[in-house]
């Protein structure tokens, strides 16, 4: 057995603990810097993607409407990645986190650009865009936003052609403010804008499907095509 009370050991343990705290603090700071540079890269990529989408739009102006390109825009992969990251980041760090807010602003811009691209493409081909603009808030003033989010996520997973663009109503981004004034939106969240018409309050999946009849046709065609191929 060791000495009953060893002052030196208490002091050594204190400094080891302090040292561990210091190392963790420095490591946390290092990781934070890395994270900032990652975010900066993502934001640069978003800017690049927006530029690419401009070019894509110009190119698609000459493309045949039979081409599938218009339905799967260049930005969709980038958007899907960001959606996942943002949802997780909001959950883990809170909606007020500076990194979350910065990324969310870029994400909103990217979505707005994708929405415009999709709309122009469908106008050109005289189609109806299979898109939903979804306005939410996570400041505690929207009880049904979580529920609405689950419904829309599930629909996005089931309908490849459906584009859901989620905007934080209170983000304070000029693009969102413009969308709010174009569609004359009141703060009665959640809000869905389908075919330029706003719908207030929670909507079930069935109600949304009823508002976009083309959705079921596309889905049925897709299912039928898959079944035929398998045969």
């Amino acid at each position: 057995m060791k000495e009953n009370f060893d002052t030196k050991k208490y002091v050594v343990v204190f400094f080891i603990t302090l040292g561990i705290f210091a190392v963790i603090f420095l490591f946390s700071n290092y990781l934070y810097q890395q994270r900032l540079s990652q975010i900066s890269t993502i934001e640069s990529n978003i800017n690049l993607s927006i530029l690419e989408s401009e070019i894509q739009y110009a190119l698609l102006a000459d493309a045949s409407c039979d081409s599938d390109e218009g339905g799967n825009s260049l930005l969709i992969n980038e958007l899907n990645n960001l959606t996942r990251r943002l949802a997780y980041m909001e959950d883990q760090r809170g909606a007020d986190n500076v990194e979350v807010l910065s990324l969310k602003k870029h994400y909103s811009l990217l979505q707005a650009k994708d929405y415009l691209l999709l709309r122009e493409r469908t106008k050109q081909c005289k189609d109806k865009p299979l898109s939903i603009l979804y306005f939410y808030s996570n400041k505690g003033d929207c009880e049904d936003c979580k529920k609405m989010g689950y419904v829309l996520t599930s629909m996005r997973e089931d309908f490849d052609k459906l584009h859901v663009y989620a905007f934080d109503f209170n983000l304070g981004l000029s693009v969102i403010e413009t969308l709010k004034s174009i569609y004359r939106l009141n703060q009665e969240l959640p809000i869905l804008v389908i075919d330029r018409k706003p719908y207030y309050g929670f909507k079930t999946r069935e109600e949304i499907e009823a508002l976009i009849p083309d959705l079921l046709t596309v889905h049925a065609t897709s299912t039928s095509a898959t079944t035929t191929t398998k045969k």
Binding site: K9, F14, I20, F21, I24, R93, Y150
Partner: protein, 444 residues
């Protein structure tokens, strides 16, 4: 009447809640200047560093070895008292395990003391009547374990006296592992390593992991002379100490804890023989476990505050006064804090599922949650908790390794990690209530 993990049930509660918190840290901990949380994390880390450093200093002492052979003349005489109250189902096994000890028969006496049992305990005990090593005593009415122990001590004429609760069973080599510690004349008591006897129910499986960690931390505490309980299952004492400091007292229902604290107060050394294995029947139902733990934790708090408060932060009482006793007390609050956060996060998770269900209905499509390094919280406090998590997992693994003699990951560890933090707060809160509402306070 097993009383083993009193001194560890606080720290185990703490360790497992740390694990849970590393998965579900609340957002309030993301504020760096949240001083109380920082202090709490610092204290917890300090304690873990202290015990890990002690382990690495004395690593060789934690190995399990075969008992050294001794000539009969080198074996001190021992009396093992078996206090029993309504233990008819287990007493025969308890006594038979004692009779099977690898120890010279003429040096080992067994005193069965029936403490006014109302079942067939005495009838079963009488099976051993006439056995040259066994004597049977019976109290007419139930007076408490400490009375039964004192009766046995009074009748004992051996060098050493021990106790074995009548629902516990000893490994054949247990006594031979304990005896060498008494070669050091300064050692006055030796505690064994208590494990759960054939854990069957989920609660028992959780306790089996708790007891293994307990065995490891008990060994560490013994290395720094910080033990404050000599558990009922097979703690062995020098008979002479009872003349010096007196026999057992009620000790708020934890006579073994009171005895250890009294020994420490009188600077009588307690050692731990980690390879002396004893198996005890553990509570199988939540109610029985709750009652047992309330008794243990309340017993510790009342003994510590009403009888031995002067030992807290007393340098003259060494590591016991400066580290293990204060931390046992503070860890109750640390464990409650972390458990509250764990429950809060589980409630949030359940709320999310309810919302999801109300939005989509019952959905059979199960998908594993995705993990993205980018989204990992790298806040300072979160990283400290990850650190504590790894230190705690290390303790769990080392505890099981010390007992099972191999590195192993078991399902019981998972049960312990996930569930212990949900049940421990019940007895911790009740015990604190018992402390503040106690009318029998006798402050020194």
């Amino acid at each position: 009447m097993p009383q083993f993990a009193q001194e560890n049930c606080f720290t185990q509660g703490l360790f497992q809640t740390i694990i849970q918190m590393s998965w579900h840290l609340p957002q309030l901990m993301d504020t760096f200047f949240d001083i109380p949380v920082l202090v709490l994390l610092f204290l917890t880390l300090y304690f873990e560093v202290f015990i890990l450093l002690t382990y690495f200093e004395d690593r060789k002492e934690f190995a399990r070895t075969d008992p050294k052979k001794r000539m009969p003349g080198q074996c001190p005489s021992v009396t093992v008292i078996v206090p029993a109250w309504n233990e008819g189902k287990t007493i025969v096994g308890t006594v038979e395990s004692l009779l099977s000890l690898n120890y010279p028969k003429d040096k080992l006496k067994i005193f069965i003391v029936d403490d006014g049992s109302t079942d067939d305990t005495l009838a079963f005990a009488k099976q051993f009547e006439g056995h040259p090593q066994v004597k049977i005593y019976a109290n007419e009415k139930n007076s408490g374990k400490y009375v039964a122990m004192n009766l046995g001590i009074k009748m004992a004429t051996t060098d050493l006296v021990g106790c074995l609760d009548a629902d516990s069973f000893v490994d054949a080599d247990a006594l031979m592992h304990i005896i060498p510690y008494f070669d050091d004349v300064a050692v006055m008591a030796v505690t064994p390593s208590v494990q759960i006897y054939t854990p069957v129910s989920l609660l028992q499986k959780i306790q089996s992991v708790e007891y293994m960690i307990g065995a490891f931390t008990r060994k560490i505490f013994s290395r720094i002379n910080g033990l404050y309980v000599t558990p009922g299952p097979f703690s062995i004492y020098r008979t002479s100490i009872f003349q010096t400091i007196g026999g057992f007292v009620h000790g708020y229902g934890t006579e073994d804890m009171e005895m250890a604290l009294r020994m420490q107060a009188n600077r009588l050394r307690i050692e731990n023989a980690h390879d002396a294995l004893v198996y005890t029947v553990s509570p199988a139902t939540p109610r029985a476990l709750y009652n047992q733990r309330v008794r243990w934790v309340s017993g510790f708090l009342k003994n510590a505050f009403f009888q031995y408060r002067h030992m807290f932060f007393s340098r003259s009482h060494g590591n016991l006064g400066m580290l293990t006793m204060p931390f046992a007390f503070f860890s109750i609050f640390i464990a409650l804090f972390f458990s509250a956060m764990y429950v809060k996060n589980l409630a949030n998770l359940a709320y999310e599922q309810v919302i999801k269900y109300s939005a989509l209905g019952f959905n059979l499509n199960f998908s594993w949650p995705t993990f993205d390094w980018f989204s990992l919280n790298i806040g300072f406090q979160r990283l400290v908790v990850y650190m504590l998590f790894f230190a705690t997992v290390f303790l769990i693994i080392m505890g099981t390794r010390m007992i099972l003699q191999r590195y192993v990951l078991t399902r019981n560890m998972l049960y312990f990690i996930l569930l212990y933090g949900l049940i421990a707060p019940f007895w911790l809160v009740r015990s604190l209530y018992n402390l503040v509402s106690a009318k029998e306070a006798r402050w020194r």
